[in-house]
Subunit: 210 residues, 4 copies
DNA sequence: CATGAATGAGTTTTCATTCAT
DNA sequence: GATGAATGAAAACTCATTCAT
């Protein structure tokens, strides 16, 4: 029987980081949950931070993939592209909600590795979003607007349920891992895209006339 | 010059919790930064968690005040009331952005004290938001909609800049503590209230006819 | 009853470093022997290396003092001064033979702290020896000779019994901490000073004639 | 190109033991430098101590050979024999200066294996030195003197440059592995043999008359 | 009001070693 | 002949807390 220690460690780590935070979780707890020796963790990840780093890159590699996958359709319209992107990301987050929670929370502390991750993946993400918004402006799909502030809002909407899972669960009785949450919440963001981000049809006409 | 140790401790704690997280900060680090002995911290707060608890209640007491202050004007219209509430909270967060960051991040870990805080303050907040939304529906100011999902969006927009300060700074070059950020971002949320949450005037008429 | 933990730690450390070497000694062993908690060691010396650093400076501060004390008499003749210096150092080493053994052995490994100690104390020592030799040449007391090579020999003679205590004890049955060793060995080094370093009286005359 | 793992391991070990000491060097460090797996070291040397043992015997086997080679010429005079011995040993140490440093340093810690090595090789060495000195006394070549104290001095002079390589390099700017060091330093020791150990010619005559 | 000294318990990390392959 | 995976044990270090002063 071959036991896949590495995978077991990562799974245990994500689960514990999610509930207790990275610093609040000890290597021993992880080892115990993963049923391996603490030294095995060092064997695969060198040190505790290496485990977090692994989570980061594991998460963002796929995250960027989802974005690029959606971005491929940019020529069929910016709005459709953005909606696809949102759908992709929301789906990805729902599927990996624990990991997403961990990553988003730990990205908010100030550390070398966070800066590295940001300068790699977040900049990439920004690049694609910027492109989509610019095209949307150009093609009169989106109301002209400050791109950084649009990004804040979009990401705020997208990340909120995964950064505040406790709150959703305890206060709003909403569970981001439940089957219908994804489609319901997708509608919400699409609504924001339609109403706040996009021109109304009426406005479009006016813009067109000009 | 009399040194106010307690205040120095709290200031140091907020600053360090902000950059390293609660678990990632040691009593010794705080003591060092506050230029007091570690025993002094224990003297004032008994244990480390007491310090976090202090931050939580200190933050939320005022937070709820801001909400109640705005809510007082509910009879002049739900939309105006909500906008006042958003303005109040945004202003409060901007003024206390480090504390806000700390509180929001630590509210996302699973612990006894977080549950207590939620069942006190978050429920209160929910109560007021609910009231405002209900009135808004009743008075045909807001599009009828699932209240929990509206809360998610509103809070997502409100909290985002303070939960992802690193990202705003490093990737978008936006600084939530700068003078103009507050008014700029307030406009954004108001825009969301006007466009996504509220009826358009046209829609309003139609709704009125029905 | 006030217990002087710091002193107990240093004494224990020297004893264990002497028998097992610095790297071969664990903080726990020291703590156990000193009858304190391991954390107490960290409290006083921060980390293990700090303990070694303390030993180094503790040793060399006094070591240099002994040299300077002897050097004060340089104007009464270089040879007498050098003999006084040798007597002082030999006496100091005999009195602190364990510490001397530890220091000499650990000075032979390559580390940041060793380089620092050398650039402070060893250079000072070199300065004084150089002065004494130069005066000795000038005053026709010593045979002109390469100073570095004289230093090697002198220090070789001086340090040998403390760098090879095992050998002296197990092979030669000589114990550097025994009462008569000091005076016996002092005679040996003085003999070297008289015979190898100094002119013979006969030679001196010849040198004088020239 | 066939890779000779065992040799690579020994070379790496000597180099690392030299800079960090035996206890300060880990199997992993050696494995890394030798570009082999840690298990390979266990494969060849069973345990870490085996590696040190190997170094000891490897060094001392040749060391004793050099002594015996010189001792063979005892009948041509004790002084010449001793000078040959010194020349041999100095040359051997210079050629293997890292190994010599390692061996001499580790011989100063207290351990089972050190005691074994001493009771084998050091006793042998002592035997030959003793013989040479005794002959020297008998043949009126050497001043009668305590043999153990002569051994201390001779070994002190011989070992010093290899037990304090850091010091020579950093403070005196002398490099025991440089081409001319060997012959220069040999002269120094020979000078000690001539001046401190041997009779002066004049003295010899007097001794002869008696 | 505040702290220096000290610690027990816990943390991460390191290490030599083992073993199936 | 050599190694990748894994580990038990121990190492160094950290931490929150206590207590006499």
């Amino acid at each position: 029987m071959k036991k896949n220690s590495k995978e077991a460690i990562v799974t245990a780590a994500i689960s514990l980081f999610n509930t207790n935070g990275f610093s609040g979780t000890s290597i021993r707890d992880i080892a115990e949950l993963a049923k391996v020796n603490t030294a095995t963790i060092a064997y695969y990840f060198e040190h505790k931070l290496g485990l977090l780093e692994y989570c980061f890159t594991y998460f963002f590699e796929q995250y960027i993939n989802k974005i690029e996958e959606a971005y491929a359709s940019i020529d069929h319209g910016a709005k459709g592209c953005l909606k696809r992107l949102v759908a992709n990301l929301l789906h990805y987050q729902c599927e990996n909600n624990h990991l997403a929670s961990v990553v988003y929370r730990e990205m908010s502390v100030d550390s070398q590795i966070v800066r590295e991750i940001m300068s790699t993946y977040s900049l990439k993400e920004k690049y694609y979003l910027q492109k989509i918004f610019e095209k949307g402006f150009e093609w009169n799909e989106f109301r002209p607007h400050s791109i950084p502030y649009l990004i804040i809002q979009l990401k705020g909407l997208l990340m909120m349920p995964f950064m505040n899972t406790n709150y959703l669960r305890e206060v709003l009785y909403i569970f981001p891992n439940e089957p219908f949450f994804e489609q319901k919440y997708l509608k919400e963001i699409n609504f924001w895209i339609d109403k706040t981000l996009s021109f109304e049809i009426r406005e479009k006409k006016e813009a067109f006339i000009k």
